[in-house]
């Protein structure tokens, strides 16, 4: 925790004016594309992500041997997503790492027993990066999977948390807070089951604080889950109104 910069002012406000436990403003939309089986757009503050899902379809090549579902992810960042133009939108180390993490987290949520010998492709594109890229990408992917009608155990949502110098945990870290030197903890969880599917930490902080920071991230996850759930319901109502079963729900 080599932060030289105080992330939380004495008045209890963060650098961007949020209080410690507050998430950034979240906007999301399902079914933004026609071509894929499922798609979603998600905005968390200034971090903006598009996700598309193809499948389940028959697995190709050697992979057919396996009885399990194959989850194939691709994570990429648009060249214009950061302040300085990114030269390699795909295939750099960071993207590959995030791709692995996405697969790991999503395989915990997808009911794989329902999709033997099939493959699900998930493409995530970060349009604008402003902190917590992985978490927002995962949340968008969840929405896209739901839009594609793929069975999930539960919503899988991710949230980040940090720790201020005065040892107060902060939810949902922005890019500015990330570069100001606080530690960053990313949790991907199944909030209702209270299961953590994925946990990543950059920079160290003392183990005494780990519990509270994880709890903060979990609380963030629950809050995001509620928002996503509302968005899904909203989307269904909208879809259903065409078929006249909106009134049924």
């Amino acid at each position: 925790m080599a932060s030289n910069f105080e992330l939380l002012s004495e008045q209890g406000l963060r650098l961007d004016g949020r209080r410690p436990h507050e998430l950034r403003h979240i906007k999301c939309k399902l079914g933004v594309f026609e071509q894929p089986d499922g798609s979603a757009y998600m905005e968390q503050g200034n971090t903006k992500v598009l996700a598309a899902v193809y499948g389940p379809h028959q697995a190709k090549g050697k992979k057919t041997e396996s009885n399990d579902v194959i989850i194939n992810c691709q994570y990429s960042q648009a060249t214009f997503s950061t302040a300085e133009r990114k030269n390699r939108p795909r295939g750099d180390r960071k993207s590959l790492e995030f791709k692995m993490y996405l697969q790991q987290a999503l395989s915990a949520a997808i009911k794989s027993e329902l999709y033997p010998r099939s493959q699900i492709d998930i493409y995530v594109e970060v349009l604008q990066a402003d902190g917590a890229n992985y978490a927002v990408a995962l949340n968008a992917a969840t929405l896209a999977l739901i839009d594609a009608g793929i069975c999930l155990n539960e919503f899988i949502v991710a949230c980040t948390a940090s720790l201020s110098k005065s040892n107060i945990p902060l939810t949902d870290i922005s890019h500015f807070e990330e570069v100001s030197g606080g530690p960053k903890l990313t949790v991907a969880a199944l909030p209702t089951a209270e299961k953590i599917a994925f946990l990543e930490m950059s920079e160290r902080f003392h183990i005494d604080h780990l519990e509270t920071v994880i709890e903060t991230a979990m609380a963030g996850c629950r809050e995001i889950r509620d928002i996503l759930e509302a968005a899904v319901k909203e989307h269904l109502l909208h879809m259903g109104s065409a078929a006249d079963w909106a009134r049924v729900c």
Binding site: M1, S9, Q11, G17, R18, E22, N46, D130, S174, H206
Partner: protein, 982 residues
Amino acid sequence: MQTLREFTRKTKRGNILKIVREHYLRDDIGCGSDLCRQCFQNEVYQLTSQHEIRSTLFKCPHYLVLDTNVVLDQIDVLEEDVIRNVVVLTTVLNEVKHKSSSIYKRFNELIHDRTRNFYVFVNEHHKETYADREPDETANDRNDRAIRLATKWYDDHLQASQSPKDLERSGRAATRVILLTDDAGNRAKAEAESILVASAGDYVKSLEEFPLLVDKLSHKTFENEKKGLPQYPPHLSMKELLEGLRQKKLLQGAFQASRENYLEGSVNVEQYEKGILIQGRESLNRAVDGDLVAVELLPENEWSAPSEIVLEEKNVYADEVPSEERAEDEKDMLKQVRAAASFAERTPTGRIVGIVRRKWRQYCGILQPSLIEDTNRHIFVPADRKIPRIRIETRQAAKLQNQRIIVTIDTWPRNSRYPHGHFVRSLGPLGDTATENEVILLEHDVPHCKFSDEVLSFLPQMPWTITEEDYAKRVDLRDLYICSVDPPGCTDIDDALHCRELPNGNLEVGVHIADVSHFIRPGNALDKEAGSRGTTVYLVGKRIDMVPELLSSNLCSLVGGVERFAFSCVWEVDKEANVLSKRFHKSVIKSKRAMTYEEAQVIIDDPTQQNEIAKSLRNLNRLAKILKKRRMDNGALVLASPEIRFQVDSETHEPLEVEVKQMRETNSMVEEFMLLANITVAEHIATEFSECAVLRRHPRPPPTNFDPLVKAARYQGFQVDIESGLELSYSLDKCVKADNPYFNTMIRILTTRCMMQAVYFISGSLQKEEFFHYGLAAPIYTHFTSPIRRYSDIMVHRLLAASIGADSTYAQLLERKSNEELCHNLNYRHKMAQYAGRASVALNTHLFFRGKEEDEEGYVLFVRKNALQVLIPKYGLEGTLYLKSDKDGKDGLERVKSEFVFTFNEEDYTQRCGDVVFHSFDPVTVRLSLDSSNVQHEKLIFRLVKPYIKGFSVETTSDVTNAQVIATPPPSKKTKKDKKKK
């Protein structure tokens, strides 16, 4: 609850970037006033209607909003208790933070003082007061607008909360909000927006109940200033400076004024080893010691040489215009110097063209008596000779006449000979011991104010008792024969020892250190205060504690016969002092006796005493001798520095008697075991915490440091080998002269001065080989044994406790970065504490010689071109005995023409006058007396008594008055002992 606004910022990092950040505006930020009934208040009210201040300018009760320039310039006024009910906008706070970190720190302290009613209003995130930057608006203009917007909102907001009916009933006027700003443009705009506004000066003057406040106002311009001709060339603008520096036309460096000559100084620039010489008022161009300046190098034919003249500014009075004559004088001086300087001696010379950054601080000094009565304008003379005189305005001149006061510089305009400043506070009457101590503490930046209530609140409740739980956690060592050995009068006893024979014939030795970390828990106010103080500072007759007295002299102090907590380090050693095993644990001890070194020595030497304590002391003493021998064989150095103690009168605090600190066997006994404990602990924590252990190292000095020592010894026919510590140690032992018993000590004093400063560091920041402690010849070392007076030891205690599971770790403890910052602070505090201690000794030496004249034995330490450096062992005092130079007239000092001539022999460094030859290390007798002609700078005068040179030496009968030979004590002994051991 939150709305989203975005704003763009452009920053330059090679190329221009567009940065978009979110900026949340809120509606849940309270206004902090107890009048308000609308706001959602989640904080305590800070703005109250209780403290009203009467101003003739504004008749109503009011709150103040400060503009950034008011905070930056008038912080001394704001610190006064009178100013209350202030709304601090975050816009202002951020601007202050960017512009001056020192003022930000002071301002922050004000804000935290709950009694002062300063309320921080987060206007930048308030829905109603956020000002978006408009196109073509400068950042500064936007901030001004934001401040006005917030003021306006506040005023309206309060008006809305106070119903006219209520006001009528209570008969009070409505509370308004007033903006204070020194920016005329901003004032005009505010008036147009119907905001109540005033300049800080006008407002302070309108507070008629507090007329003295006006003194503290910072003056950018003095009123009725004579529009004199510019006396200095203008400074270049910042843009020109940066351009010049970039093109290497200008050089940048820290300006160092000369102590002797007020018209001379130098700028330390990287490329030039000696720095660039600056001579003359115009070339100095308003630079003050310490400032970061830009210099232009003069063409080589205009280069000059350092003048070696002592030139003190004569008294000038506030209203006097510098006369032509004086200017002529200065020019003459320069001409002479230049003419006299042979080409070989000339050094790069330059002139200052601009100031990159001012390093002005607060200065101690006295007011110069004024010629005219009833004037407000005065000249302040700083104690530090490197600082120019400062013009101030004060109405209390008569009161301040014989006091030490503090003044800061505000500005230095071109048409003023001296900088302008303002009075901050008075320290007390001149010559008073308390005042002089205060000056020493301030000049060395020693935090010495009383411990705040918050700090004291973390002390244990009295009466304090040891609970059953404590006994259960600790090893019970109350039955052991533990005793402590310290200097007489010591109340903060932090170490105790024991030694007992084990059934297997080996010995068990224990070092028990006061368990301060038990009482000082990490992270609380007490801990922070101790960490920032870093060390206890010892002045003559006064101690400035690092931790409150309850801990330092009572609960932590291992006094005899009382149960105390200790951190014990216990070894099992054989008869040959080989360590067989070691263990660390927290314990409860009951020291059987607290002894002085002398008492312990008596017990050891008295064969009739055969009790447990005597036995264990003798064993310890025997082991210590073995340990010491072993250490010496490893190449540890025995260094010497003349140290003295003053016997101080308990009531008047005046020094009565001087004694040289005596070294007894028992001193070395205690020292040996402390070293052993320190080294053992250092090894342990360095292995347990390879990244963040607090250790201490003493770097090996570069060989060139030893040059003066090697030369001095060679003239005496001794070879000093500096290849390694071991060889150095051996060769020092050989430097013995039968006819001069003090010779060896002097050689060791010289060696001490070749040393580097030992420093704290973090194990992760250096390679293992660099951990070496040169003076002790130990591969690794730390401080463990004095937690009451050193914070480093508390850190080491915590690390050790964590490693043995006696205490839990915490975040900060394991962090390399914060530990590094801490070490940095500790090193600084230690250095300053040493300097302060020496300054205090110097001060007391002066007090001691007041009205006295004494003949003392001394030794020549160095022979210089025109002087002898004389050391007086009895007082640990060193001074310069000036010999007349053969180049009379060049020197600024008044000297009597004389028939005797000293010739300096550069070959063997001797001074010869007739038959008398002075070598280094020769014994001399000098007469000491005090020259009090300058109140601020009393100096000791050294005059030669023996060997007798007719016309030069003073007669043994004391009727000689002409001060031919003036010696100053070395500049408060700082420079010479900088490189002290450990």
